[in-house]
């Protein structure tokens, strides 16, 4: 198997499209909460925008909500500056009969809205991004709600809090278990609303996916984002229609898998990146790239060298984003991965850095209903201090930190669906 190594400097940082905004904590108002007194349930919560269906019976609720200073809107016409994306209920996909369904290699199949949020942020920088996905089933566990909140919140978006009918009724009736679940949900939402400065952090990435993610390229481009995320590679969304000059700074590789060859300017930008030491992963649609053939023993790619970098050209048009996503991890090399997990299970991650690069946050998501035991994560970078935050506690959790060469390794305590490692350089 061929392993292409590349050494693009990480000093020059890339302009990012993933500029987030997260001023709202939205909630879809349950139809069963007809009394304005139910607005009292929002006291002490971060919820500041209610999405209320057109229903004459809810007019008193709308009136009082507005009087209380809450934003009121409908899901079809959200407030200005908000983009609503339809989502998937995040978590380990369950097969019929309750067993977890598996991906092509037997690993759990995870649904996440992370890539949708990041793609929308790239398309509409500075926009508030809300994920709209009502809970599946009649009754959803509190852990599943926490996953929905964290999956969106970690990636700079917000899940539109939507309660299943049974839970909404239970909260309305003041049933203790329902009220406890409500507190957990609003507590998790509050965790992210208190940390909206994290939404100014920018993604730290190893690989960029260049595409317009639309038309003929919608499936491949979007699924690549989804599945690269599942490999835990930290990626950048690179819209080829909006490329800045410092497009590839800090990246080790770019993937160009669109159905059309790149325009001349984009082609030049990418080849400049390769010449400087980067890796291009592409398909035959690119055409014959410059450079000279390199040792080629990969079953699916022909290798070429160009300047200080390399090009891996798929021998056939890539038509399976799962294979391409996994191939890319190997073509780039695990050496350069920014986060590496042990005992993580169905894990997701997102590493972001503050604009001054003195702080970083590694968002760690565990999509199974039950958090992992004895999970460890290695985070690349030279950090001297780590705080581990979880939504269930106001103070950081104790965490064992092992300083390694150019990395820190965290031995995580028992956590549930989400933890954030806040790192200081």
């Amino acid at each position: 198997m061929l392993t292409l190594r590349s050494g693009a400097s990480r000093a020059a940082k890339r302009d990012t499209f993933d500029k987030m905004n997260a001023e709202w904590t939205p909630m879809r108002w349950p139809g069963s909460w007809k009394s304005p007194s139910a607005l009292g349930l929002l006291k002490g919560t971060p919820i500041n925008c209610l999405l209320i269906d057109k229903d004459a019976a809810l007019l008193p609720v709308i009136k009082q909500a507005k009087q209380a200073g809450l934003q009121v809107a409908e899901i079809a016409s959200p407030p200005p500056g908000v983009a609503v994306v339809p989502g998937e209920w995040p978590g380990v996909a369950m097969a019929r009969g309750g067993g977890a369904s598996a991906g092509p290699t037997g690993v759990p199949w995870v649904d996440s809205n992370s890539w949708k949020i990041r793609l929308e942020a790239a398309r509409r920088p500075g926009t508030n991004i809300w994920v709209d996905v009502p809970p599946k089933g009649a009754r959803v566990s509190a852990s599943s709600y926490r996953t929905a909140i964290a999956d969106a919140g970690a990636h700079g978006g917000r899940w539109v809090i939507s309660l299943d009918a049974q839970l909404a009724a239970g909260i309305g009736d003041g049933k203790p278990d329902a009220v406890a679940a409500w507190k957990e949900i609003t507590g998790a939402a509050g965790f992210f609303s208190k940390r909206d400065q994290w939404s100014t952090y920018v993604p730290e990435a190893v690989v960029g996916v260049v595409s317009d993610f639309a038309g003929d390229n919608e499936f491949m481009g979007q699924e690549l984002l989804n599945l690269i995320g599942r490999t835990n590679q930290q990626y950048a969304v690179l819209l080829k229609t909006k490329l800045p000059k410092t497009l590839f700074g800090g990246l080790r590789a770019v993937i160009y898998a669109d159905a059309q060859p790149p325009e001349a300017e984009l082609r030049k930008q990418i080849l400049d990146f390769v010449n400087a030491g980067g890796l291009l992963i592409t398909g035959p649609k690119w055409g014959v790239p410059p450079g000279i053939p390199a040792k080629d023993d990969h079953p699916r790619y022909a290798a070429r060298t160009l300047g200080k970098g390399r090009i891996a050209v798929a021998k056939a048009d890539p038509d399976d984003p799962y294979i391409l996503a996994n191939d890319s991890a190997l073509l780039i090399s695990h050496r350069y991965e920014l986060l590496r997990f042990w005992n993580g299970g169905a894990v997701g991650s997102y590493l972001t850095v503050a604009p001054d690069r003195k702080r970083a946050v590694a968002h760690l998501l565990f999509y199974a209903d039950r958090g992992p035991d004895h999970a460890s994560v290695r985070i690349a970078g030279r950090y001297r201090k780590v705080n581990l935050w979880t939504p269930d506690r106001p103070e950081p959790r104790p965490v064992e930190v092992e300083i390694q060469k150019d990395a820190v390794e965290l031995h995580l305590p028992a956590v549930s669906q989400y933890a954030a490692a806040e790192l200081e350089a």
Binding site: M1, T105, L330, N343, G344, S376, E409
Partner: protein
Amino acid sequence: MHKNCSRREWILRTAAAVPGAWLAGSPLGRAAVAPALPVAVAKCKTYDATELVPTLSKMFDQLGGLGRLVSGKTVGIKINLTGDASYRLGYAPLGDTHYTHPQVIAATVHLLGRAGARRIRVLESPWATADPVEEVVLRANWEPRDILGAAQNVEFENTNYLGRAKKYTRLMVPTGGYIFPGFDLNHSYADCDVFVSLAKMKEHDTAGITLSMKNCFGLTPATIYGTGAGVDEPSVLPNGGRDMVHTGFRQPSKSAPPEKDPKSSRDGGYRVPRTVVDLVGARPIHLAIVEAVRTMAGGEGPWIANSSLVSPGVIVAGLNCVNTDAVCMGVMGFDPMADRGTPPFETCDSTLRLAEDAGLGTRDLKRIEVAGTPILQARFDFAALRRERRAKMGRWRG
């Protein structure tokens, strides 16, 4: 046999009393004449190179020196990277529990290079993947350059598939084999002059123990012997583990030698030890090294419930794999003469007995010269831990 008489003496007397040709062809006879070569044992408390390299160097000297074995030769080293690299026992690094420790690999490579090995090839069939071994060990948090740079002309090869060759290499079992008459393997196991099994000292859920011989279970490419192997021809890439060999639920790809008797027992405790002996018969081990500076008790990997991290601080090496594994069992507090029903072979046949019966080497400690630290002084009592663990499990079961 009616008066005090050691087993060895009995075998020797018996051997004198029966026709040699008959004896040589029987398991009893093969056991009697099974080779007995020196085994070196050393205490080693840390993986620090300043302790590890001199310790291993002294052990190899006690075995007669590496130079005469490897000078000018191509050496293949089968290491043990069982299970996926993302799986740890607690927070412990993989080399401390169930993988051969990278420092031991590097130290061995260094000493082989120093002894004049022309080319050193580090081999493994990592779990369900054709990824380069370098990439697998990076995921374990190792630096492959530490191994690749420990001597000249060092390389890794993933032997879980065809790898760098055009075709698989067929290696036959000289004695005919228990389960398989031969194997189709990655070329690396034929393209070496000297073959080293560099194993971790552990118990094993199916085979009782995993030492230098059981390490060779991983010689089998999953493209042929894996759960998702091709039916007629090997699959291009490995898919899944080796349940096929464990349970015999299907046959290897038809291109490879089939089982001798598909109607034989499908029990893993019967099949795995026999397949291991078939493999070490087909691919003889010239140097067996079993390390347990740190390791795990209770099983071969973190997926085994109630297993634990332990620090025996011992390394065992020998020129005969059966002898070496017998000494390892002694160090672990087990009786190498134990058979099915006796710890650690409560539910399986003894790989050592089967190997001895096949004439590969003796397991009789009385016939094996131990150099360095005596077994009793090196002992770390896995057997006692096993008894405690099983007693607790019995109580839990009520």
